[in-house]
Amino acid sequence: MTETTLLGLCAAVLVGLGLFGLIVNPQPLRKVLAFNVLGGGVFMLFGVVARRGAAMGFGGDPVPQGLVITGLVVSFAATALAVALILRLYAVAGTASLRADAIDATTAPADDAGGGDAAAAPRRN
């Protein structure tokens, strides 16, 4: 078996591990971590595909390599957005749980963050 194929199989296992974490771990932050492991596996498989297509003096097919870079940035944006959402949920509800019964439905939108500065937000102009 070639090194590239071996890495391809490794990527398949990473996908399985990521899916397992996404489904089984109850904490949303851990799900985001698992999503990143899963994404790492998918991108790695793309890299294996690129490496298999090495030709013309290129060490790998540049098209999938470029797409992986785009994908990495998109997946960072997804992670940042999900983390911001988790932190906001925690600030408002006091829990970051995904279970429906973990949240008291009557919770009002709380303006709790920010350490008590009640002044209006600065606006431009």
Binding site: V15, L19, L22, I23, V24, P26, P28, K31, V32, F35, L38, G39, V42, L45, F46, V48, V49, R52, G53, D61, V63, P64, L67, T70, G71, V74, A77, A78, L81, A82, L85, I86, R88, L89, V92, A93, S97, L98, R99, A100, A102, I103, D104, A105, T107, A108, P109, A120, R123, R124, N125
Partner: protein, 588 residues
């Protein structure tokens, strides 16, 4: 397969319009983000007008030339470059999206107004920019000819839709948004994994090129399964719908309208692209039957649970769940055993028509629900008797939208149902005809419940909490009427003989049967009963039966609660992945 450089012949005249469809919303996002404040809403109006014109121009071009529009971005030919391609499906979806976005814009101008005294407020800024983001993502989905560009478009949709879910900042909507976000991310990663395998097998991501070369080998089957499952998770097809009811019911009404009418159609459209265009010979009939079975389950669960709701917005959200199911009935009907592939025909036309008619009707229904909420200060179905006397246009909009969904002449859903029934008869798959017919009664049931309750006599005269803006009522009604008249709009491509006179005795009878059937279902197991004396009397007579049926319906609710637990939904997703793979492999 690999033409070296951009030669002019594959690019069609008018292809540049497709670029405009993509960059007009982008320009709007950038301008709105920079200008901020009150300018945002103004910029959106300009973008809606221009974007509408672009969509109509694309539709017009296609009617004139009768062929697809193709454009190569940067002048680079696929597979090295990225192409844009619009066929009739893209064109009609773009036009209907523009119509719905325009309607929502009219509606939301009253809801998302920057309050006096501040230069900029959070909710309007976010709502308008995300609306443009969704439009941009949808147009990209409709015109993109490349599987990876579609991935970026999907993420654009998700990132724009998520903030709309939790725009009001309450804990439960934040949680709904988080569930949606993570589940949708899982879906898009699976989609991307499929695209990776496709590239590994064929060295191209261009859908038209793939359509000519795909074979049912291991990589293609795996790719098809992974992309389909990922997209189903984003479309919220039962049982992968854990995020949909709380997200669509908890968002502000204008946002719910966008999410329910448009966002779920994006991923549905890509499923159609993959099954019909990229790899028509790969999935096979077995997988299509599985897909349609999920659709049938969605219709059954969504409709039954809708009738067990106490809140109007949740009822409409579950109705969306059911209507999404409808969209997937067409797949086995579009399979042609002679060529062993999915072919474009009446079934696909019917399915797309269903998507369009649901987009317009559902946007109208969510808007109407928002106005009812604003008027009463709540949306409890049990306490909204008499609301039709206060906001008649709103209730009329809901009724017209509901009737359009039920499939009464000349609504889009009517024609869709007729086309699908024809295809089911033609292919001998009578069981899907049963599902379609039963679906009509199920849809009628929750529409009848709401309308009857709105028309009932209130216990005490209703004092409206606020006067809703007339423009909002009319925007809802406009979209509802669009849905009701949709079948007339597609008369060109579809023979007129398919549409009968709505006042013909046969059609009147069919409509009456649907409504009576719906009413019987309401009497049988709805949670709230409309406040009419006769209803009480009949319900009294039926008490033992009603008790049993209510218990049965409550069982559906419990199954749904269990299916929407995170770990169960995740397991369902994996199990379905394996089932689809087995179906496709055994087909060979």
């Amino acid at each position: 397969m690999a033409s070296m450089l951009a030669s002019a012949d594959a690019v069609t005249a008018g292809g540049a319009w497709l670029v405009l469809a993509l960059i007009v919303p982008v320009a709007g996002i950038l301008a709105a983000m920079l200008a901020g404040g009150r300018h945002v809403a103004r910029i959106v109006v300009v973008v809606v007008l221009v974007g509408f014109a672009v969509a109509v121009a694309i539709g017009w071009q296609m009617l004139q030339s009768g062929s697809e529009l193709v454009y190569w971005l940067g002048g680079w030919a696929p597979p090295l470059g990225v192409g844009l391609r619009a066929d009739s499906l893209s064109a009609v979806m773009m036009v209907i999206t523009a119509v719905v976005v325009a309607g929502i814009t009219i509606y939301a101008r009253a809801e998302f107004r920057t309050p006096a005294g501040v230069t900029e407020a959070r909710a309007p800024y976010a709502f308008w920019i995300m609306l443009l983001g969704i439009w941009c993502g949808l147009n990209a989905v409709f015109v993109s000819a490349d599987l990876f560009t579609l991935y970026v478009a999907l993420e654009l949709l998700t990132f724009s839709a998520m903030p709309l879910v939790c725009l009001d900042g309450r804990a439960e909507t934040l949680q709904a948004a988080l569930r949606y976000m993570i589940f949708a991310l899982m879906g898009s990663v699976l989609y991307l994994l499929g695209a990776v395998l496709i590239y590994g097998a064929y060295g191209t991501l261009d859908i038209a090129q793939l359509g000519q070369v795909t074979q049912a080998d291991a990589a293609t089957v795996a790719a098809c399964v992974l992309m389909t499952i990922g997209l189903l998770a984003k479309t919220a097809l039962f049982p992968l719908h854990l995020w949909l009811p709380p997200a669509h019911a908890g968002a502000p009404p204008a946002a719910s309208a966008v999410l329910s009418a448009l966002v779920v159609k994006g991923s549905f459209f890509i499923v159609v692209r993959i099954w019909f265009d990229a790899m028509p010979g790969v999935p096979g009939l077995g997988a299509a039957q599985l897909l349609a079975a999920m659709g049938a389950a969605a219709i059954l669960f969504g409709s039954v649970i809708a009738l067990r709701q106490q809140r109007l917005k949740l009822l409409i959200a579950y109705s969306t769940l059911a209507q999404i199911g409808y969209l997937f009935i067409m797949f086995p009907l579009a399979f042609d055993p002679a060529v062993g592939a999915f072919v474009r025909g009446d079934a696909l036309t019917g399915g797309m028509l269903q998507a369009m008619s649901h987009a317009t009707a559902k946007a109208a229904m969510f808007m109407a629900a928002g106005l009812i909420y604003a008027t009463l200060g709540h949306d409890r179905i049990g306490d909204m008797a008499g609301v039709a006397r206060v906001v008649p246009v709103t209730v009329l909009a809901f009724a017209v939208g509901g009737v359009a969904l039920m499939g009464i002449v000349p609504s889009g859903a009517y024609l869709a149902k007729k086309l699908l029934l024809g295809a089911a008869d033609g292919s001998g798959q009578w069981w899907w005809s049963l599902v379609l017919e039963a679906g009509g009664f199920l849809t009628a049931s929750y529409v009848v419940l709401v309308i009857a309750q709105a028309l009932a006599k209130p216990a005490a005269p209703i004092v409206p909490r606020v006067r809703v803006a007339r423009s909002q009522e009319w925007a809802a009604l406009l979209l509802a009427v669009c849905s009701l008249l949709l079948s007339l709009a597609v008369l060109g491509p579809v023979p007129a003989s398919l549409i009968s006179n709505p006042l013909a005795p046969k059609e009147l009878l069919a409509s009456a049967i649907a409504i009576i059937g719906g009413a019987l279902l309401v009497l049988a197991y709805s949670r709230e009963l409309p406040r009419f004396a006769i209803v009480d009397r009949i319900a009294g007579l039926l008490r033992p039966l009603r008790g049993a049926l209510c218990a049965l319906a409550q069982g559906f609710v419990r199954i749904d609660d269990a299916a929407r637990q995170w770990s169960i939904a995740g397991l369902s997703m994996l199990a379905l992945t394996l089932m689809f793979a087995a179906a496709m492999v055994l087909q060979r």
